[in-house]
Amino acid sequence: MNEGLIVTFLLCLPLSAFVVIRLFTGRRWQIFSGYLSTLVLALTTFFAFIMAWQYFFVYGKMDGAYALFVPIDMNWLVFTNDLSINFSIIIDSISVMMLLVVSFISLMVHVFSLAYMKGEQRYGYYFAYLSLFTFAMLGLVLSGNLFELFMFWELVGISSYLLIGFYYTKPSAVAAAKKAFLVTRFADFGFLIGILMLGGVANNFDIVQMIRSIAQQQALWEGAGTSFLGMSVLTWACLLLFMGAAGKSAMFPLHIWLPDAMEGPTPVSALIHAATMVVAGVYLIARFFPVFQMDATVLYVIAIVGAGTALFAAIIACTQADIKRVLAFSTISQIGYMMLALGVDDSLNGLHEGYTAAMFHLFTHAFFKSLLFLGAGAIIHTVHTNDMHEMGGLRKQMPVTHISFLIACLAISGIPPFSGFFSKEAILSAAYSNHKWLYAIGVVTAAITAFYMFRLYFSIFWNKPLSPVFIKKEGSWLIRIPLIILAVLVLITGFIPFGNFISANGKPLPLEVHFGFSVIPVSLSVLGIFYAAVLYYQQNNLPALLEKSFGWFYITIRQKFYIDEVYLFITHKIVFNVIGNTTAWIDKNIVDGLVNWSAGITYQFSVLIKKVQSGKIQQYVLYFLLGVLCLLAVVLYNN
């Protein structure tokens, strides 16, 4: 089967679902729309599987590496012969992997939503937007043209906006949606400039061509002639690209939108803000890895930002009460891991363990994090609250959720043999071989991760006896089935020989688990779990004591280090009040004032000279005479 055809089909399906539902069926046939959308997604997933199977097993490797296809490359917006935005599809191991992840998770979320969103007034539109997101995300991972990628990148952003703001009558949701969009937009600004810079250097927007031509010119433009504002163009471009990636992937300091984005429906959080969209940044860097590789500085920056974010978010996660927010910070932290992995990719040794590790973690994280979110969704659906302090003892009430949640928690904590263990191990090993101090941060973060995840777990399912308010049972099968499937996947995906399929240069790269190496991180994680159990297994006053003993430090963390407030200050006070209002004031009073002033002065002048027209005929004659004399003087003087 022609893969171009499959992929086009795969893209068109969710798009057409979006169009049909949004324009025609969305309002009147709500339930139908939901099922239509889910069905379409099932079909899409099916094709994605076919695609993956074909790519990995039918075509297989050529010369020991997975090849890169560009089955479709059509001109869309031609600037010049070289520069153009094309509708181009790239098929290589990471795009196929992403294809699988996106379509599959999206399918799970669709199924889950069928029950979860029941009774919503805009049920139909919800599915339309989900389809739109899926389309955009699939487009993003398949893009073979950097500008095309940027377009889908933006589309992903807008569908995220629409879905976060789905409960649009809720002011907090609207604000969150706005915040999410604006923060990522700010990052996209950098991304766009990066694109322009790279495109200018490579004289192309086609990703494959760009990478090739940049590699060829590498020596050439590290010279003096290609610096821009004091740095080499390559560094600039890579940093700006990373800025875009950081925005989408919620890296510090652009992470502030993600916790707020939890205002959206929980399945949306599972799909967009855990498994797929937020890893787009990681994907972007992976996609351009050959370019990033050329600049060690940028990679180091990425690694530092990744590690820093991982630790930072993990610390904040320990203090949050809203279960979705905890998960959001854990997402930020985990993506930090992925960035770290990319940053510590050891290109000198040619091993590229980091790259593969990042992809691997992306892959496993998608499953366990969406599982966590869907589990949280199931819980919220039942108890109608987000606050973990109001929960407790839910394990009997919702056994399926309980078990799957536990599995996911173990996975994220890096406990063998769950999937998270393997990918985290790969990352730590990559970090260890490159920068030891980053490795240390990674290990500490892993321990903290284990702690807060189990804090969450214990608070929800154990802690105190079941509150009598929660008499509702676990949701329908539509809710439980996705949980089960995902739990199973979390159990088994760790054993996939990931390095065989995905590596920086296409050649297989075995990711080995050394027992000796694993001891430290795993035991630290277990320690974290232990502490969590001590504090939260049963209701006691230890947590409160602990909070008190930390004092202002604890409050600072709970307030997310006041970063939101800083942003608020910058945007509201400085940008809005100072710059915006000043501009408006200048416009009104100086630029426009000048126009009005010139009119006013003309009028004033007109009033000033009105006395000349005195009504006295003798004065008129006098002026007449003076006029003649002056004229005479001037004319005689001139000649």
């Binding site: 009028y603 005929i617 008129y620 004659v621 007449f624 004229l631 005479l632 004319v635 001139n638």
Partner: protein, 474 residues
């Protein structure tokens, strides 16, 4: 041999027609035949129309009579323009004249004035020119007083006659000096003998200010506003359109041929005067409340713009001026027609009185609007083309910067025209002018004016025709 003499009279056909009208009117007056007013107006108008048409009959060549009188194609056309403007004014005066006792005298004076202008235009001799000028001016003073019951009217007439006499004294002084320096009062001799020296410059400046008074160039304009305001609207219209046009036509001849040798002198002079005129006219027009007074300053500004064309090359310049005067006739009479009608029926003359005018009198409002837009130089009205050609021919000179400044003054003048438009379209107002019955002749004149305002511009043949006439004149 009858035929032979008639042929001799041919160059004077337009003047003779007017003379005939004056005589008939006087005779009727003498014999006390009190005709019906309406009937009088009809035949007088018809005669005017014939005078207009006569200007297009047998004028393919220039005729010179005794170094006194010349009829060139351009002259004939200019006279037709004046006669046509008078015709329109006469049509628009219908409401006012219908109840005016002195209608016969009115027409006698009007025609005398027109006759004077004709003489002025055709004159090739300073004496004849002077007589024509006075003949055109003195009756106007009487006409200004034709609101016999209004003191303002007499005041206007007094100011006019004093200012005019003073101006003509200066003009005469200039003429006497010219005579002294050139030794002749014939145009061709003067053109041939005049050389640039302080004496001839003095003579020229004095002479020119006499003319400048008539077309109200700043600073010789001060009488204008008062006289316009005090006179009956019809007379104001005549003053601002016909009287000015005639003197402008004459000045073309003077500047481009008679005083050709003084060109560097009068270029500076005209430049200074035009800038002063435009700016002052604009500044004064900004604040005016009385519609007629407002139009006075508007016409002053317009004259300033017309002067720009004098800086250009002679053919293009005079073509632009004559063309603009044609346009100016139509556009100004659109405005004055409405003012006259409103003044005659309601007695209101203030701009404020026109509040909400559009709601009650949409047709009149459109006429007024069209006129104002044409004066402001907004396409597709002819005023746009007129202004464009004026500035275009003026810009050929070395004064590009100053002309740009003048062009920017268009903005100010647009402002006060728009002020009137704003008033017309005022939506909430208590005292609106009631719907006005438009008499047939007035309506007819409005249609002509509107058609003129549109067609004179877009129909390029009118300009082309004028250009060809101007080309024969030099």
């Amino acid at each position: 041999m009858m035929h032979y003499y008639l042929h001799l009279l041919l160059p004077f056909k337009q003047e003779l027609l007017l003379l005939m009208a004056i005589f008939i009117l006087l005779l009727l007056q003498i014999f006390g035949k009190k005709l019906q007013q309406e009937w009088t107006m009809q035949w007088v108008n018809l005669l005017l129309l014939i005078t207009v048409l006569a200007g297009f009959w047998q004028v393919g060549y220039s005729t010179d009579v005794n170094a006194m009188f010349q009829l060139s194609p351009l002259n004939a056309f200019e006279k037709s323009v004046l006669a046509f403007a008078t015709y329109l004014i006469s049509l628009q005066a219908y409401n006012w004249l219908l109840h005016h006792e002195q209608i016969m005298e009115f027409y006698v004076l009007l025609f005398s004035s027109l006759l004077g202008m004709f003489c002025m235009i055709s004159a090739t001799n300073l004496l004849f020119f002077y007589v024509g000028l006075e003949l055109s001016t003195i009756p106007l003073a009487i006409l200004a007083n034709f609101h016999l019951q209004k003191k303002q009217s007499s005041e206007a007439a007094f100011k006019f006659i004093v200012a005019a006499s003073f101006a003509s004294a200066l003009l005469l002084l200039g003429i006497s000096f010219l005579y002294g320096s050139a030794g002749s009062i014939g145009f061709t001799e003067i053109a041939a003998h005049l050389i640039v020296n302080p004496f001839s410059i003095l003579a020229f400046v004095l002479f020119f200010t006499g003319l400048a008074f008539k077309i109200s160039i700043v600073p010789f304009h001060l009488w204008t506003a008062d006289v316009y305001q005090g006179s009956p609207v019809t007379v104001t219209a005549f003053l601002s359109v016909v009287s000015k046009a005639s003197v402008l036509f004459v000045s073309l001849n003077f500047l481009f041929s008679v005083f050709h040798s003084l060109e560097p002198v009068w270029h500076t002079m005209v430049l200074i005067l035009l800038l002063l005129t435009i700016v002052t006219g604009n500044l004064f027009a900004l604040r005016q409340q009385n519609f007629k007074r407002f139009m006075a300053f508007s016409s002053i500004t317009q004259i300033g713009f017309i002067l720009i064309a004098l800086l250009g090359q002679n053919i293009a310049g005079s073509a632009a001026v004559v063309y603009f005067m044609v346009v100016y006739v139509f556009s100004n009479l659109c405005v004055f027609g409405v003012i006259a009608l409103v003044a005659a029926t309601t007695g209101k003359e203030k701009i404020e009185d026109f509040k909400g005018f559009y709601q009650t009198n949409p047709f009149l409002a459109w006429v007024l609007l069209l006129g104002l837009f044409s004066l402001a130089g907004i396409p597709p009205t002819a005023g746009f083309f007129g202004k464009f050609f004026l500035l275009l021919s003026g810009a050929q000179s070395n004064y590009f910067g100053w002309i740009t400044f003048a062009a920017l003054n268009l903005v100010v003048s647009l402002y006060y025209y728009l002020r009137v438009v704003v008033v017309i379209f005022h939506r909430e107002s208590a005292a609106v002018i009631a719907p006005i019955q438009i008499p047939k002749p007035v309506q007819f004149s409005f249609f002509i004016c509107m058609a003129g305002v549109i067609i004179t511009g877009v129909g390029s043949w009118i300009y082309t025709y004028i250009y060809s006439l101007a080309a024969t004149a030099f």
